[in-house]
Every structure is written in structure tokens, then in C-alpha cells.
């Protein structure tokens, strides 16, 4: 419960950022944090609540990003239509991958590898054809205006990102209070027992990955509208996949605000580290790797677990007082 309250407070604070903060740098910083928080939540749906660890979530992010970029640049579609189609594409690909992969009840590690392979295949394909920008990536033409889903004022993007995070938290809440969520978590805990209680394993997992794919694609669409540029390495490369899983693990897998906590802590620490070590390429990701190992060693339930433990200890102290 403490974790949820902390999360809600954090969200409220984050809402104030665009009004309280003047610096362009910090606005962008928190915007990215929110973005990664929602991406992490997408991963969390499948990995944290569903127990299926994807190492290639960049696949869905990239589909959203390149989907909307290609539709706008090559086919002149309106930004909103392109975005909607790209998100649908993310869902469809999620569903397809799920149907393909979950048929055989592969061990967890195999699923992780397959998702990684899919992301790599996408990366190679995208970087090989001119239609998709080949090695240079794609630039979405500047056309400021609400009609084009591009805003002069960065703060509007910020509020949109914040809303996404709220939606993500609501989705998590739904998972924790619905039949589907109960079944998904049962599948995560024990597949045999879940089957014995009438749960259709494949249908449950496929639905989860479809939802997860749609959410991750949404982040991709948002990214492109905000930055107006995407390339294959950014969209489908390991960095995005690592972000997606890392924020959830550090913040607490299978929890409502885990991805948000993880995103805040990860990037705050990353930023602090940058101040100390300078903007050396690679060092901040190495730092992420270290945080991952430390989290696994000392915080197996993430930050959310830490908050809950403190609450439990305090209440037992009160009981013995």
C-alpha cells in the first residue's frame, strides 16, 4: 500500500513539473523518464505480471516508431491516422509473435532469446532498404500544429507522456483487479496448476503480449512525434529493449508503479553519474548493467518491494509496541 501511495504522490509531483520547471533540459529529462516509464509498463504487463521475459521489446517500440514515420513520410498520412495504425500494427505483431512462440511452452530463456532475435531481424531489415530509410533513418517533416500531432510547446508533449503513464498505472490496476489479471498471474506462478483450474494458457499469454505490444508501439509513436527522427539502431537496437526491462526490474516487477519508480531512479542515478564521469559513451549503460546486478542481488522485489518491506516492518513494530 505504501508503494501505491508513494507512486500516486510521485505522479502528482511529476504533473507539476511543466509548471514549476523553467529549464528546457529538465523538462526534456522528465519527459524521457515518463516515456521510459510507460515503455517499462508495457514490458511489465508481459514480464512482470505475466512472467514472460522479453529481451526484445524494442521490436514493438520500433514498429510503432517506424510505422508512423513511414506512413507519414512515404504515404502522406495524417499523423494521428499513422499513429493509430502503427499502434494497431504493434498489437498485431505482438499477437503474431505470441501465437508463434507460446504454442510450445518454451522455457523462459528461449522466449527471451526469440524476442531478441525478432528485434535483430527487424533492425537488419529496416536498415537494408531505402524505403525504410536504410542506414540513415527517417525524418518526419516539421509541421507544427495540433492537426499534425506536433507541438511548439514541449509541455504539451510532457502532459501527453504523463497521461500515458497514468493510463499505464490504470492498466496495471486493472490487471490486479480483474479476472484476466488473476489468470495472467496464475500462469506466471504455475502453468500446470493454472491449466488445472481452467485457464487457457495460450490465449492468456497471447492477449498479454498483444496488449504489451500495443503499449510499446504507442511509445514509439510518441517518440517520433516528439523527436521527428528515428533510425534502425535506435528503434530496434538493444538499448531500448534494455530500458524496457530494466526499469521494471529495478522498480519492482509485477507492480503498479514499479516501472515509474525504476525509470525515475535509473535516470536520476544515470544523470548523477554523468555529472561525475562526464558524458562518456557507454559508461552510463555500463552503469545500468551494474544497477541491474545490484538490484537482482539486493532488491529482488525492486523498489516497490523495499517500500512494502519498510511498511511491514513499521506495522509489526507498532504491533509489538
Amino acid at each position: 500500500m505504501t508503494a501505491k501511495i508513494t507512486g500516486a504522490v510521485l505522479l502528482a509531483l511529476l504533473f507539476c513539473v511543466p509548471f514549476a520547471v523553467q529549464s528546457e533540459f529538465w523538462l526534456s529529462f522528465w519527459l524521457l523518464v515518463l516515456m521510459y516509464a510507460f515503455l517499462g509498463q508495457a514490458w511489465n504487463v508481459l514480464g512482470g505480471y505475466g512472467g514472460q521475459f522479453s529481451f526484445g521489446h524494442a521490436l514493438f517500440f520500433g514498429i510503432g516508431a517506424f510505422g508512423t514515420a513511414i506512413l507519414q513520410v512515404r504515404h502522406g498520412l495524417n499523423a494521428y491516422a499513422a499513429g493509430a495504425i502503427a499502434i494497431a500494427l504493434g498489437a498485431i505483431v505482438g499477437c503474431a509473435v505470441g501465437l508463434l512462440v507460446f504454442r510450445y511452452r518454451l522455457r523462459g530463456a528461449y522466449f527471451a532469446l526469440v524476442t531478441l532475435a525478432f528485434a535483430e531481424v527487424a533492425r537488419i531489415l529496416i536498415s537494408s532498404f531505402d524505403y525504410t530509410g536504410s542506414g540513415f533513418g527517417m525524418l518526419v517533416p516539421l509541421a507544427r500544429g495540433a492537426a499534425n500531432f506536433q507541438f511548439e510547446d514541449r509541455r504539451i508533449f510532457y502532459v501527453i507522456a504523463w497521461t500515458l503513464v497514468v493510463i499505464g498505472a490504470l492498466i496495471a490496476w486493472w490487471l490486479e483487479n480483474s479476472r484476466f489479471g488473476a489468470r495472467l498471474m496464475a500462469v506466471r506462478e504455475n502453468e500446470d496448476a493454472a491449466q488445472a483450474l481452467g485457464i487457457n494458457l495460450i490465449r492468456t499469454k497471447v492477449f498479454a503480449i498483444t496488449l504489451s505490444g500495443a503499449m510499446a508501439a504507442t511509445v514509439g509513436v510518441f517518440y517520433v512525434q516528439n523527436f521527428l527522427f528515428v533510425d534502425s539502431h535506435l528503434a530496434f537496437g538493444p538499448a531500448m529493449s534494455i530500458e524496457a526491462l530494466l526499469v521494471s526490474i529495478i522498480g519492482g516487477m509485477g507492480t503498479m508503479f514499479g516501472p515509474l519508480f525504476g525509470a525515475v531512479v535509473l535516470h536520476a542515478l544515470g544523470e548523477a553519474a554523468k555529472q561525475v564521469t562526464g558524458n562518456a559513451p557507454g559508461l552510463n549503460l555500463a552503469f545500468y548493467g551494474l544497477l541491474l546486478i545490484l538490484a537482482l542481488r539486493f532488491l529482488p522485489n525492486g523498489i516497490t518491494g523495499l517500500l512494502s518491506r519498510r511498511m511491514a516492518r513499521r506495522s509489526s513494530e507498532r504491533a509489538h509496541a
Binding site: 479476472r179 489468470r183 500446470d192 496448476a193 488445472a196 483450474l197 481452467g198
Partner: protein, 250 residues
């Protein structure tokens, strides 16, 4: 309620189940007995859809369920528990049971309420908010039972529910199972604890090396020489017989 006909299953070089046939009639409690490794759990797994039989068929309430997947069989009213308990560790006892309740209740609130009812029935009431992973063996067995019960089954397959329980725990659970039968459920149970078998089951089948070697009332089974040999070894029946005669000798 349940008809198993000529069911066989081979794993590599081992014939785990060999043309086994049995019947369980509505509202009975029937026991499936046999020494370790006889194939009882495999038979359960085959009946419940976890393992595809090589030959034979299974009918539930007259309808063929032989090659159906486990979750479909569960929806039809046949639920099994596991010999090695499989709790949903990170979920609370209430949430665990609710998963079973969700089979027939879409609403979260209803499922949770039903879970509380079932928990009371099996004696897990005080533990509703505990994470399942913190339960003792006895508690986990009850949870296993409660989860299955929450699905409103017609036929319950209980796999060694008593294993690992001390005599007091056994005597606590027996009335629970009787009450379950009293509410209209049919039960087929695998059990080693004879005290439980005798007080619960009217009839029993004995499985040895994959074959059904005896069937009948529990009293008939207990004195069947083939059964004694299956448990105690070759020649044991004769030894038991001569021992009994010696005791009754003038």
C-alpha cells in the same frame, strides 16, 4: 460420472499405464490405490488431459474428453489436484482460491467472496491474507483442495491429499472431504494413508505396474491376495495367510 476404458500410456521404454479401466459413479468416493510407481499419477494426468493416452478413452458424464486440453476438461467439471503441491506462491491464499472461482465468476468481487467461503470450508479462513508461499505443507494441501473446490467441480481428482500430513491433520481433513461429497461432488482419490481410505472410500481400484489388478469394496480389496502381494512382495499373501492361521490355531 467417469468412465475410463482401456487406457494405456507408454513413456519411452516404460509402459506406465496398461489398459486401465475404471468407473466412478455420481456422488461416490472411490480410491485408486497401488504401490509407488504403479502409474496412479500418470493415470490421473491422462484423465485430466495433461498427458495424451496412447490408446483408450475417457468419458465424463457421458461425453468423451479423451484428447481435450486440461483447461477445457476443467470447464467441463473435472478438476485435479497435484501430488506435489503447486501453489501460486506470490499470491495470497484468497487470491489463489479466487483463480479457481473465476472459472464461473467473471466479477472480481464475486470471485473473492466465493474464495472466502471455500476457504472457511476447508479451514483456511484465518490465513486468507497470507502469501501462499508461507503456508505449511498441510496448509498447502488444503489450498490445493480449496482451489479445486472453488471451480464448482462435478468430479474431483485428489492426488495424495494426505501425503505429508500427521495423523491429527489427516483426521481434520477427512470430514472436510466428506462434506465436499455431501455437497454433491464426486471424488476419485489417490491415497496411501489407509486410515483415510477406509473412512472415506466405498470402493477402490488397485493399480500395479500400470494394470488394474483388483477392484471392489475397500474391505474386499484389503484381503485380496494379489493386492497384498503388490504391496508386500511375492509370496507375502501366503505368509500373511499362514500367520493368520497360526494365530487362530487352537
Amino acid at each position: 460420472m467417469l468412465e475410463v476404458r482401456e487406457l494405456s500410456k507408454r513413456f519411452g521404454g516404460i509402459q506406465a499405464v496398461n489398459t486401465a479401466s475404471l468407473d466412478v459413479y455420481e456422488n461416490e468416493i472411490v480410491a485408486l490405490l497401488g504401490p509407488n510407481g504403479a502409474g496412479k499419477t500418470t493415470l490421473f494426468a491422462a484423465i485430466a488431459g495433461f498427458v495424451r493416452p496412447d490408446s483408450g478413452n475417457v468419458r465424463l458424464a457421458g461425453r468423451d474428453i479423451t484428447s481435450l486440453p486440461p483447461h477445457v476438461i476443467c470447464a467441463r467439471g473435472l478438476v485435479r489436484t497435484f501430488q506435489i503441491v503447486q501453489p501460486f506462491g506470490a499470491l495470497t491464499v484468497r487470491e489463489n482460491i479466487a483463480v479457481g472461482a473465476h472459472l464461473h465468476h467473471a466479477s472480481r468481487r464475486q470471485a473473492l467472496a466465493r474464495a472466502e467461503d471455500v476457504a472457511e470450508k476447508v479451514g483456511l479462513g484465518p490465513r486468507l491474507n497470507q502469501p501462499a508461499a508461507t503456508l505449511t505443507v498441510a496448509g498447502r494441501k488444503r489450498l490445493e483442495l480449496a482451489r479445486a473446490l472453488a471451480t464448482d467441480p462435478k468430479l474431483l481428482l485428489l492426488d495424495e491429499v494426505m501425503a505429508g500430513l500427521n495423523p491429527m491433520e489427516v483426521s481434520e481433513i477427512v470430514p472436510v472431504i466428506q462434506a465436499i461429497r455431501g455437497s454433491g461432488v464426486t471424488i476419485l482419490l489417490i491415497e496411501h494413508v489407509m486410515q483415510a481410505v477406509v473412512s472415506l472410500a466405498e470402493r477402490a481400484y488397485v493399480l500395479n505396474n500400470g494394470r488394474i489388478i483388483a477392484s471392489g469394496t475397500t474391505a474386499e480389496i484389503a484381503s485380496d491376495p494379489q493386492v497384498i502381494e503388490a504391496y508386500l512382495g511375492h509370496g507375502a499373501a501366503a505368509r500373511v495367510q499362514s500367520r493368520l492361521e497360526a494365530r487362530h490355531a487352537p
